[in-house]
Symmetry: C2
Subunit: 205 residues, 2 copies
């Protein structure tokens, strides 16, 4: 089971590591972090991940995952990356995105006419790609699974494991990660935050 | 606001990145990843993080965070690390752990007599350190905050932000991360998994 995670400058660390932590616990899973070039890639803060593969090294993958991040806008029209995604997609069982990663996936045209989702603050931008943006934590349309913002990648990855393997494997992995979330506040979605707070909030993503 | 995250070989990636993603969104936060030596540190799978500081570089910190991981057992009696934790602890506002990181923190003696928690599969081991192990997602006792397994670090970090700054800041950051979890299965805690499945599960952590 070959799983490739595309990395670019200014990804969001949790978009990568939430799904990574779940997917890498699949028995026999091989995770490939791949960037346009190999080397160290930073998020937009203090985090630097070693990326051992160039996208040229990856010619097929069972799963492709595109994380989100502030850096996504800089590569939405990058022909090399877009052509690579399209090529890998011809080999995948599942092609997936977290958060604003859906924008890059949509920019390839592969999501046209499909049900998709993204970070709440990116939905307007995603609608421009001739897709049907839904308000779900994650949504599967054919072999394409897109998820909402940042932390939603964890939920999506566990669902994906239930498809790749089975529900019991997903449950074991969820228990291993002790993923029994108890957020201290009930405000992780814009419709849950008091309006006066939401108005003060500057876009984070 | 200086926040130091101790890194060692075979940490668990999400133990590090869940809290990192939340804490690094505090305005003015400076995150320091520190290991016994600087360099690349791997989790127990395919992940390699660049650690730009040696623990010798860090002499004080407002927050210290100790993540868990399979590698924790190898350093529970490491005098250099234990002495460093005790020294930094004299300067912190909060000293915290995620998952099995509580074992290392307990091994310093700083948690003696305190209410603490850890990964569900590490509780028996933690009880040997003369602490009171509780069944909570995270628990604060004085300036010490310990959390349950892996993903619990996200919940703990948001709570910590509400203490360091205020509840509104924590809520903004939670919304930015779209942390409105919807796990596909309700099985993230051992009392939620059917017994026949739990018995089949080999320890993951």
């Amino acid at each position: 089971m070959k799983i490739t995670i595309l990395i670019y400058e200014k990804y969001t660390a949790l978009d990568v590591v939430g799904p990574y932590e779940a997917l890498s616990n699949i028995s026999g899973a091989e995770i490939y972090f791949a960037g346009v070039q190999k080397g160290l890639y930073g998020d937009n803060k203090n985090f630097k991940l070693d990326v051992p593969y160039s996208i040229d090294d990856i010619t097929e993958s069972d799963v492709l995952l595109i994380p989100g991040g502030f850096g996504i806008d800089a590569i939405l029209n990058d022909k090399k990356i877009i052509n690579w995604i399209k090529k890998i997609d011809t080999t995948t069982k599942f092609t997936t995105s977290v958060c604003s990663g859906a924008l890059l996936l949509a920019s390839t045209g592969l999501l046209e006419g499909r049900n998709v989702t993204t970070h709440w603050n990116r939905k307007e931008q995603l609608r421009k790609y001739n897709v049907n943006v839904v308000d779900e934590r994650y949504v599967k349309d054919g072999k394409y699974i897109t998820s909402a913002g940042v932390s939603a990648g964890i939920d999506m990855a566990l669902y994906l494991i239930s498809l790749i393997q089975n529900e019991n494997t997903a449950k074991f992995i969820q228990l291993g990660m002790e993923y029994d979330p108890q957020p201290p506040f009930d405000c992780g979605s814009p419709n849950k935050l008091p309006k006066e707070l939401l108005e003060k909030m500057k876009p984070k993503k």
